[in-house]
Subunit: 343 residues, 2 copies
DNA sequence: TTGTATGCGTTATCAT
DNA sequence: ATGATAACGCATACAA
C-alpha cells in the first residue's frame, strides 16, 4: 500500500501524449478529433482517473452540493422532508448536506454566514426562530436560499408556505361537529415560527365556530413528546372538563396519548386528540391519530425544485424576485377523534 | 445587487498593505508581528472576508466533510444513527453528507467509487448487500471507511458490529420462559447482511432452548411495515398455532401489530411480538413493543469516533490494521411480550 | 483541432 | 517576521 500519487489530467496528458487542454476537452465532451478522444479515454480508463472535486469547484464555482437545515432530525416530519429533498436533488445531480440546528438561533445564524464559504451551492432551511440578523443574513446570502416556513411578510428569499390557520380551523371545526366544546391547545414555544403560526390558527379556528378563546385551555412547552405528556397532565389537572386536545405537532400528540392511555381515558369518547404534520407516527400509535397534514413532503418537494430552478437559472438573465409557493393543509381523520373511523 | 467581486486574501493583502503570505499566516494563527496581525484582521473584518472552501481543500486535501450512507432515511434506526453521527462529527468540526442508497448495490458501488473524487474525507456506511466488488471497493478506497455491520470475516475496513445471534437468543429465551413454543420469525431479504445475520440468530436462539427449527414458521419479505403486515397475515393463515412473532426489525413488528390489532388478537396472551433495533417506535405503537436493542446509536457513536480517529491520525505513522468494535445486544421487555410489564 | 499559458483562492517553501 | 513565488488540479482564452 504505497501512497500512490493521484492521477490527474496531467498524468493522462503525459500518458496519452497530448496536452492537458485536450484531456480536459475530451473529459468535458467538447469537440475533439476521434483519434485524440480515443487516446485520452483509453489512458483515463487505464489509469483509473477520477476528477478532483475541489479543483473542479474552485474553477467552476459550483460544488454540486445543497444543504438542508432544520431543527432536529429525530422529528419524523423532517425525516420525511429530508427523504423527499434528497430524492429531488439527486435528479439534479446534487448531493445533500444535513444540518441539524437543534433550534438554536446562533447556530442557524452561523450557518447562514458560513454559506459564504461556498461549500454548497444552495440551502433549504426550515427556520424555527427568526431574528433581524436572520433576515439580514438571508437577504445577503451568497447562494440561493429557499425557506420552508414563514420568514416575514416580505420574504427575502423564495419560500414555500402552508396555511396553518386553515389547517387548525379544519381540526377545530371537525371537533366541534363531533360535539366537542372544550378544545384545548398544546403548543410549542411562542418565540418560534411554528409556535406563533399555530396559536394564531387555533384562535382563528375557535372564532369560526363561535367558541370563545379560553386562556386556561392553552398551554405551551416544547415540541417534543415529553412536553406533550407534561402539557396533557397539566391540563387534565387544571381543567378536567377538556374534551379535546389539539396538538401543535404529532410528537406532542403522542405524548398526550401516553398520558391518556396511562389514565385509562376513553379516546375519543371522553377526550379526542388531534395532532399536526400527519407523520407516519399517526398510523402507528396507540390510537390512530387524527392529524392536520401541512403537506410537508410536498413542501419539501417544491422547495427542492425551486432551489434547483435557481441553481440552473441563467446567471445572465434578469434576477427573479423572491417567489412564494403555498401548499394547502388537509385534515386526516382517524380514530383518535372519530369513533366511527377504523384504523 | 451588483455582482460584487468576492473578497479574497489578495483583496485583504492589498487593503492592509501586506503580502498575501502574511494574510494567510495571520488567518491561520501563525507567528506574526502584532502590528501586521492587527492590520490584517481589521481589513478582513471590514471587508467581510470568508475563506473559500474549494480553494482550501484543493490545497490542504481536506474537505471537512464526512458521508453517511445507509439504505433508507425513513427507517428510524438510521435516523437515530444519523443524529448521533452528526453530533459526534460536529465536535471534530466535520459536516455530514447524507446518502440514502435504497439498498441498491449499484448505488453503493458508485458511492464507493466516487469517494475517489475526494468530496469527503471519510465515509461511514451501513452495507445492506455485500458483493465482491463491494469488498474490493472498500479495500481500495481513497479515504477512510468505517462500516457499521458485517463486511466479511476479514473486514477490509474498520467496522463496528453487534451480535445479532445473541440478541435474538435473548428474545427467544424470553419468549420460551413466558410459555411460548411456536415462535415464528419474520425476516427481511436473505441476500442482505442483516437478513442473513438475523436468520442465523433465530436458529441459534431456538437451538439454545431446544426447540426444533420449523421452516413453516419462517417467512421472508422486505424490511418495511407493509411487509410485516403481509408476513403476519400469511403466518396466521398457514400456521394458526403460532404464539409468538420475532421480527427482524421494528418496522416489520409494527406491521405485524397492525394485523393483530385488526383481528382483535390479544397481545401478548394469545400471541407475543418482539421487534428489533429498539427504536422510538417501540414505545409509541399500539402495544408497547418488546425489542432487541442492537445498540445502533452506540454503534453509530463508535463508528464516528473511529472515523475521526483515522482522520486525525498522523499520516506519517505506520498504518493501523482494520479495527473491529463490538456492541452487546440487549433485550428490552415491554407489553407486547409480557403482560406484567406496563408501558 | 490542438497546445500554451493564465487564473481560480489557498497554503507552503523559499529567500530575504 | 515578511514577501515573492510555486504548487494544488482543473478549465479556458487565445494563439497556432
Amino acid at each position: 500500500m504505497t501512497q500512490a500519487r493521484p492521477v490527474t489530467i496531467t498524468t493522462i496528458a503525459h500518458e496519452a501524449g497530448v496536452s492537458i487542454a485536450s484531456v480536459s476537452r475530451v473529459l468535458n465532451g467538447l469537440a475533439t478529433r476521434p483519434a485524440t478522444e480515443r487516446k485520452v479515454r483509453e489512458a483515463a480508463e487505464r489509469l483509473g482517473y477520477v476528477p478532483n472535486h475541489a479543483a473542479r469547484s474552485l474553477q467552476s464555482r459550483r460544488t454540486g452540493q445543497v444543504a438542508f437545515a432544520m431543527a432536529d432530525i429525530s422529528n419524523p416530519v423532517y425525516q420525511a422532508m429530508t427523504r423527499q429533498i434528497q430524492h429531488t436533488l439527486r435528479v439534479g445531480g446534487y448531493r445533500l448536506l444535513l444540518h441539524s440546528t437543534d433550534g438554536d438561533v446562533k447556530d442557524e445564524q452561523e450557518l447562514l454566514d458560513s454559506l459564504a464559504q461556498r461549500y454548497v451551492d444552495g440551502l433549504i432551511i426550515c427556520p424555527i426562530r427568526i431574528t433581524e440578523e436572520h433576515l439580514a443574513g438571508m437577504r445577503a446570502t451568497s447562494v440561493p436560499v429557499v425557506s420552508v416556513g414563514w420568514v416575514g411578510d416580505e420574504p427575502p428569499v423564495d419560500s414555500v408556505l402552508t396555511d396553518a390557520s386553515t389547517g387548525i380551523t379544519l381540526a377545530v371545526r371537525h371537533l366541534f361537529e363531533t360535539g366537542k366544546r372544550r378544545i384545548a391547545f398544546l403548543n410549542g414555544p411562542l418565540d418560534t415560527v411554528p409556535g406563533q403560526e399555530r396559536l394564531r390558527g387555533y384562535r382563528t379556528g375557535l372564532a369560526r365556530v363561535d367558541i370563545a378563546y379560553d386562556e386556561s385551555l392553552v398551554t405551551t412547552r416544547d415540541f417534543y413528546r415529553a412536553d406533550g405528556a407534561a402539557m396533557a397532565s397539566e391540563l387534565l389537572g387544571s381543567t378536567p372538563d377538556v374534551d379535546a386536545l389539539v396538538c401543535a405537532n404529532d410528537m406532542i400528540a403522542i405524548g398526550a396519548l401516553d398520558v391518556l392511555r396511562d389514565r385509562g381515558a376513553r379516546v375519543p369518547e371522553e377526550i379526542a386528540v388531534v395532532g399536526m404534520d400527519d407523520t407516519d407516527l399517526a398510523t402507528m400509535c396507540w390510537r390512530p391519530l387524527t392529524s392536520v397534514s401541512l403537506g410537508s413532503v410536498e413542501q419539501a418537494r417544491i422547495a427542492a425544485a425551486m432551489l434547483l430552478d435557481r441553481l440552473t437559472a441563467d446567471r445572465t438573465a434578469p434576477p427573479v424576485r423572491a417567489r412564494v409557493a403555498t401548499v394547502p393543509p388537509q385534515l386526516v381523520v382517524r380514530a383518535s377523534s372519530d369513533p366511527a373511523v377504523g384504523g
